[in-house]
């Protein structure tokens, strides 16, 4: 509380972000320990969590007051005008302090108290059990086993304690390989496809500047390939763009040499026909290693694949550009699309999707195991592994399965949530929308396959809300070790049980649950299937949204159907009972009383109420009819009210002169 000097400011104006004639609402601004709250004259409340604030900006003083622009990580942008500069300055300073905490212990999660006792809290944390999940996948089995090498985080600090590796990979091999890989992130199992007996594995890049071979790493790769009884060929997917890699390879010749050697040594006993991959690898090896190392007949069982996903810095600035474009007032259609293009955002989304599809195809079509890595193996690798699994296994398309997927491939494997989301005051260059991109890819899949997912868009948006909110413990910290040290399971709550409590809001009413476990999704990545995700990036700009929600009405109808069906059954059983008694007059009486009162208002109330599409505090975005003044064409209305000019117009004068 020591940062708060002013707790309440009256007569503050909230400007409409998209209006060109500076429409505004007047109200009171409150500053609490956790939230900024604005209550306008219609008593509508706007809550902004301090942790959601990405930036606060004080603009030049105007005649009506001091403008304060707050940008949030959930893409809300608010523009206040505070009448007195002093107040504005106080709030500005307080927000700067409150939005950037230095210590984990000062985050909201450590003070958030939903009034649960310790056992309920523990139960919440136990909802997702990764050991259970590996069992579901079908490991351990004759080829894969649980390794205790990292039990004490001795080999890799950023991996979880429990890791699954090929059964034939001994501990010395694992330890040796981990020394060869960046941050000790050696190849481990991410997903096991029971049907195909193929695996998705993940790791980080081989260490640069390491000139010798690493026999243990070679052995581990060999073990992964042998753990697939059907196909010994294996893909190594480098998720980084080739052009970046090539220039990097030129300076890091050793790596190339090693890769070539690994492949040539391990699989020298088998041959395959020439393929494009091989040619590419040859060219690369040539480039990387100079002459003399490539042996055309060898290194054929490892297939090297680049899938150009850009790095976190490119992604960060791409999102920045996107937000700049769509935040423009009076944006024209052409500026919107040229901005969308130059931001490159959809191109990056497509790259992630393409990579995941490549991965899924390698397993489905070629039955091959795949090892995925990027640089450190916690950003792009997480994206590709999790999306790939989602395409392959319909379990991950359920509510519970999606939670498991996030816990496994993102939280447990050390995606640095705290750094990427900027939970603490840290290096802004570490912030990047990697997880947001993953959610967007999933959204694109829900658009292409409207019946394949048990959850709806609101679920994705709510998860996005909470990776930044710091209200729950799940996303705090950068790896499991750090989380244990923070004692998150004792001091904070898990998000998942709270989402399940509100499950109804997140269900997809047209979900088709009958599909088999291994129905693979084959999305089309033709460019025109990628669309701007308005409901994410304009979540809080309610004038831009459809005014009526189909989801809500179908959801309600579905529920109503179930209720009515139940009623019918009850009535039928009653009829039976009555018939048994053979008392007809009682029957009719009973029926008259028990008929579910069919409310004529039901249908209309469903749509004329202000419907909330999303479970956010102020999301009254589905107002039927809405208001023309909400929309930009209403700004033309100025012309309606302009004073009529004098009747004698210049036109007459001109006309006379011409004739």
């Amino acid at each position: 509380m020591e940062h708060i000097r002013t707790t309440k400011v009256e007569q503050v104006k909230l400007l409409d972000r998209f209006s060109t004639n500076n429409k505004s609402l007047t109200g009171t601004l409150y500053l609490t320990a956790t939230h900024l709250l604005f209550i306008d004259s219609h008593q509508k409340e706007t809550w902004i969590l301090h942790h959601h604030i990405a930036s606060v900006e004080k603009l030049a003083l105007t005649t009506s007051g001091c403008p304060l622009v707050i940008q949030c990580k959930n893409f809300r942008i608010v523009h206040f005008i505070v009448p007195r500069e002093r107040d504005c300055h106080d709030i500005y300073n307080s927000l700067l302090q409150l939005s950037k905490q230095a210590k984990y212990e000062d985050l909201y999660a450590f003070s958030y108290n939903p009034k649960q006792n310790d056992s309920e809290r523990l139960q919440g944390w136990q909802l997702i059990d990764l050991a259970e999940e590996y069992k579901r996948m079908g490991v351990p089995n004759s080829n894969w086993q649980l390794s205790d090498a990292n039990r004490e985080y001795k080999i890799c600090e950023t991996y979880p304690r429990e890791l699954y590796v090929p059964r034939i990979a001994s501990k010395p091999i694992i330890v040796g390989s981990s020394k060869f890989r960046s941050k000790g992130r050696f190849p481990v199992l991410s997903y096991y496809h029971q049907d195909k007996e193929a695996a998705i594995c993940r790791c980080s890049q081989p260490l640069s500047g390491f000139s010798a071979r690493c026999l243990e790493d070679e052995h581990l790769l060999q073990a992964i390939s042998k753990a697939n009884p059907v196909n010994r060929y294996m893909y190594v997917m480098d998720t980084r763009p080739k052009h970046r890699m090539q220039s990097w390879w030129d300076t890091q010749k050793d790596i190339g040499r090693i890769i070539v050697r690994i492949s040539s040594k391990i699989w020298s006993d088998e041959r395959i026909t020439e393929s494009d991959e091989k040619k590419r690898l040859n060219a690369m090896a040539n480039r990387a290693a100079g002459k003399g190392y490539e042996n055309e007949d060898n290194y054929s069982n490892i297939r090297f694949q680049f899938v150009g996903i850009e790095n976190i810095h490119v992604m960060r600035s791409s999102l920045q550009k996107l937000l700049e474009v769509n935040g423009t007032k009076g944006l024209s259609v052409n500026d919107f699309y040229s901005g969308l293009e130059s931001s490159g955002w959809l191109r990056h989304i497509k790259a992630v999707m393409d990579a995941a599809i490549f991965l899924a195809k390698a397993i489905m079509v070629e039955n091959a195991s795949v090892l995925v890595h990027c640089s450190d193996g916690w950003d792009r690798t997480s994206q590709v592994c999790s999306l790939g699994s989602l395409l392959l296994d319909s379990y991950y398309r359920t509510v519970k399965g999606f939670m498991v997927l996030i816990e496994k491939d993102w939280i447990a494997f050390g995606h640095k949530f705290s750094e990427r989301c900027g939970h603490l005051d840290g290096d802004p260059k570490e912030v990047s929308p990697v997880f947001t991109q993953f959610l967007e890819c999933v959204w694109h899949l829900t658009e292409q396959f409207p019946q394949a997912f048990e959850f709806n868009e609101a679920f994705l948006l709510q998860i996005h809300e909470h990776i930044h909110s710091c209200q729950f413990g799940n996303f705090l910290g950068n790896c499991q070790k750090e989380r244990e040290e923070l004692k998150l399971k004792e001091k904070t709550y898990s998000l998942w049980p709270f989402l399940l409590d509100d499950l109804k809001k997140y269900l997809n009413p047209i979900y088709n649950s009958q599909s088999q476990r291994f129905t693979v999704l084959e999305p089309s990545t033709v460019s025109f299937n990628f669309k701007f995700w308005r409901n994410m990036y304009h979540q809080f700009d309610r004038t831009l949204h459809p005014r009526q929600s189909v989801f809500n009405i179908i959801m309600n109808m579905n529920e109503q159907n179930k209720q009515l069906e139940k009623d019918i059954k009850e009535l039928e059983s009653k009829i039976k009972q009555c018939k048994n008694k053979q008392t007809d007059d009682i029957l009719t009486k009973e029926l008259l009383h028990s008929i579910h009162p069919e409310s004529p208002t039901l249908k209309s109330s469903l749509c004329f109420k202000e419907q909330t599409l999303l479970p956010v505090n102020d999301a009254l975005r589905t107002i039927e009819g809405s208001n023309p003044t909400d929309n930009r064409y209403s700004d033309y209305a100025e012309e309606f009210s302009k004073a009529e000019p004098a009747v004698v117009s210049l036109e007459y004068g001109v006309a006379r002169m011409t004739c």
Binding site: Y337, Q448, A452, F528, K531, V550, N631, V647, V648, T658
Partner: protein
Amino acid sequence: MEFSELIRTGRAQAELLRGPEAPPLRGTLCVTSHHLLLSPGTEASPDLWLLLLRSVDSIEKRVAGDSGTITLRCKDLRVLQLDIEGVEATLDIARSIEALSSLESVITSFPFFYRPKGLRLGDAWHFHPPERYYQRVARETNAWRLSEVNEDFSLCPSYPRALIVPHSVDDQALARSAGFRQGGRFPVLSYHHARNGTALLRSSQPLTGPQKRRCAEDEELLRAVLVGARPGARGFIIDTRSAQAAKQARMTGGGTEAKAAYPGWKRLHRPLERGRPLQESFVRLVEACGDLEQSMDRWLSRLEGCRWLAHVKEALSTACLAAQGMEREGACILVHGAEGTDSTLLVTSLAQLILDPLSRTMDGFQELVEREWIQAGHPFQLRCAHSAFSHARPKHEAPTFLLFLDCVWQLGRQFPLSLEFGEGLLLALFEHAYASPFGSFLCNSEKERGLCEVRTRTHSLWSGLNQPKEQRKLRNPLYALNPLAIWPSVEPQSLRLWQGLFLRWTRPPEPSETAWEKVWQIVTDSEKTEGSA
């Protein structure tokens, strides 16, 4: 009959490829006077594949060895490929299709021969006469009357026989006003907004010319509109051309209303694209949508470059402006561009859809299309002679009606419960406007339709669409009457490419179709359970 001269080869063996999704069909290909038929081998599937020749937009032939390939690009944006045995047969069939698909005579077109089972000639033709709309207006106010001054189409060849005009203006004054407007299209009532008594009118440009001519009767007509609405009412003239274009039109005899001559009326210019540029925009969009290999950047820049969505935005915001003028400002609105048969109708029909809940019902929308497009004299035959694939230089083609349908689709996306019809109806209207077995979209005006006896010798599209078996495709299962005006967002972020139309044949439709089926099922279940409970 004369068609036989154009058919060079009756039949040939061929294989038909209908895009990546559908399996190829093999069988005997047959050209008849109006159709291309493919009858598969008897046992495989007994179904006959049928294509209306009129719907072929462009044809491309290639021969290699002793077989040939014909690529047919259809007006509904479908692309078909026919692999035909025999070079001679290929060339003959190609020539026959070319000749038969470009026949210009109306009375030999297929609608004059189409006699489907279950429909009677003459049904539904008197479904939406102007009289019917007048009856509705007359219930709401007595400021308007139905005039039959255009009985013999002598005042205005592109207007229908009967028109709704201010009560106090007599037929003689109308005739004078008609003389002052291009093509005789004097201001007539398009929509009466019962909530506050304001009126939406449409006309063509006044023939002020370089001499700045005036017409007392025309001025009187517009004055009468304001008086009829409310004493002291204001009016706005929405000119769908830029101020400069309107001024330039004076050189060729046209022009725009002078402020001094029309007290109470104020002019607003909202330039809308029309004619050639609009057609080119359509062609470029369809081109971009046909390229499956392009990169993301290329796609986005082509989407931007074709400007189609910009036209959607402009059309919608102009319609919103007109609607807002009536609903919020209590003003009367007159819309016109030059001829008053294209963007004018776009604006007036969209404004009605925004304001009038009745026009959002199945019947109401059909009536709106009939009244505001077909009878109001949108020259369908000229505008829809070719679609996006034709190599012919466009003369009068312009996808104004398609732009209207796209705007309606955008409205439907933003208000998914407020329109009684679904995307299916819009797609059907698009198809039928360009090539149809029904007579509704034939000719350019009521006068021409009378001369060709369209009403007595062809079937109406509405009777075809309103058959019970069609309903599931056309209706919106979630519709619930919404008595309010629906104000769409026109921000670029809120407008979307109409994939169901532009990517209809390039994207696999199943997932969204099964989803739609599921919605239908839920709704039907809901009705059933409600019924039995």
